[in-house]
């Protein structure tokens, strides 16, 4: 038996609202300039400017029009735009053709497409990464871990 009176929703029609599901990817358009710190869980696509820091559990995509100055930390980072500063990924980084990077990259896995420009240094010892199952040579054997001096080797 149909009830009449389903007109609640009518008042909502006045403004076109984008229905957004809660865990959607954040999107920073190309006219948006952010100064400061972006953090949390989730994926981000940035087309605009960021002066500051990304610190995210999730994926960050730096689109072609994006300009970032500062630090980007995320699980997965893919870059088409320009970044001055440092990129650090827990999982992997991809630099696409149009990427322009000046600075430092830290990642266990890296791919760079032809055409990308990268001025800086890469470090691929993934101390920061979560254990991925494979047995890693850890701090004691890590040649780059400066904090663990190689003094303590037992002489046999």
């Amino acid at each position: 038996m149909p009830l009449f009176g389903k007109k609640k929703k009518e008042t909502k029609a006045e403004r076109p609202q984008v229905a957004v599901s809660q865990n959607e990817t954040s999107y920073f358009g190309k006219n948006l300039m952010i100064k400061g710190r972006v953090s949390g869980n989730g994926n981000v696509i940035i087309l605009g400017g960021l002066d500051g820091e990304f610190n995210l559990r999730g994926r960050v995509k730096v689109a072609q029009s994006a300009k970032i100055k500062g630090e980007v930390k995320a699980d997965v980072i893919s870059v088409n735009g320009s970044v001055k500063g440092s990129l650090a990924a827990k999982d992997r980084i991809h630099l696409d053709q149009t990427a322009r990077i000046e600075g430092q990259i830290t990642t266990p896995k890296l791919s760079i497409s032809e055409g990308a420009s990268f001025d800086g240094e890469i470090s691929m010892n993934d101390r920061s990464s979560k254990p991925t199952g494979t047995h890693k040579t850890d701090s004691a054997l890590d040649p780059l871990s400066t904090t663990a001096p190689i003094k303590k080797i037992d002489d046999r």
């Binding site: 609202q17 865990n23 300039m33 400061g36 972006v38």
Partner: protein, 138 residues
């Protein structure tokens, strides 16, 4: 509602993401996450149900369904939905506060240039549901 905005895209700050800092630009912004600092947009800002903004906000149109702590300035319209909460002063050319909305603060009206529509100033304070409508000066 006029859909002409100076910005052509809508930026989205999703639920579990937070920004601490300044945001500006000719953009529309939809906030479902947490935003602290300052916001200055020439587009619109829409603060969704899960959105929490602790910032001074300036935009063309402001729609609040979530929570805002800070002073708010809408060059055109400020709209607070029943689920919305504004703690702070507002300045707007037109305000629309729905029943159930929470507004604690002062309100100032902007006189749009060239028009003299409605009372030139309007002041409210206190909390609780309030309904105010003002014809859009046009």
């Amino acid at each position: 509602m006029p859909k002409d905005t100076s910005a052509d895209s809508i930026s989205l700050l999703s639920k579990n993401v937070r920004i601490e800092g300044e945001i500006q630009g000719p953009e529309n912004l939809h906030v479902e996450g947490y935003l602290k600092g300052a916001v200055e947009l020439s587009g619109d800002i829409f603060i969704g149900n899960t959105g929490i903004v602790e910032a001074d906000v300036e935009a063309k149109n402001i729609v609040i369904q979530g929570e805002v702590k800070g002073n708010v300035k809408a060059h055109q319209q400020l709209e607070i939905h029943p689920t919305g909460k504004l703690v702070g002063d507002c300045t707007a050319a037109s305000i629309d506060i729905k029943e159930g909305a929470v507004f604690e603060g002062r309100s100032n009206m902007i006189k749009s240039s060239g028009t003299a529509a409605g009372p030139s100033s309007n002041s409210t304070s206190g909390r609780g549901p309030q309904i105010q409508k003002q014809p859009q000066p046009e």
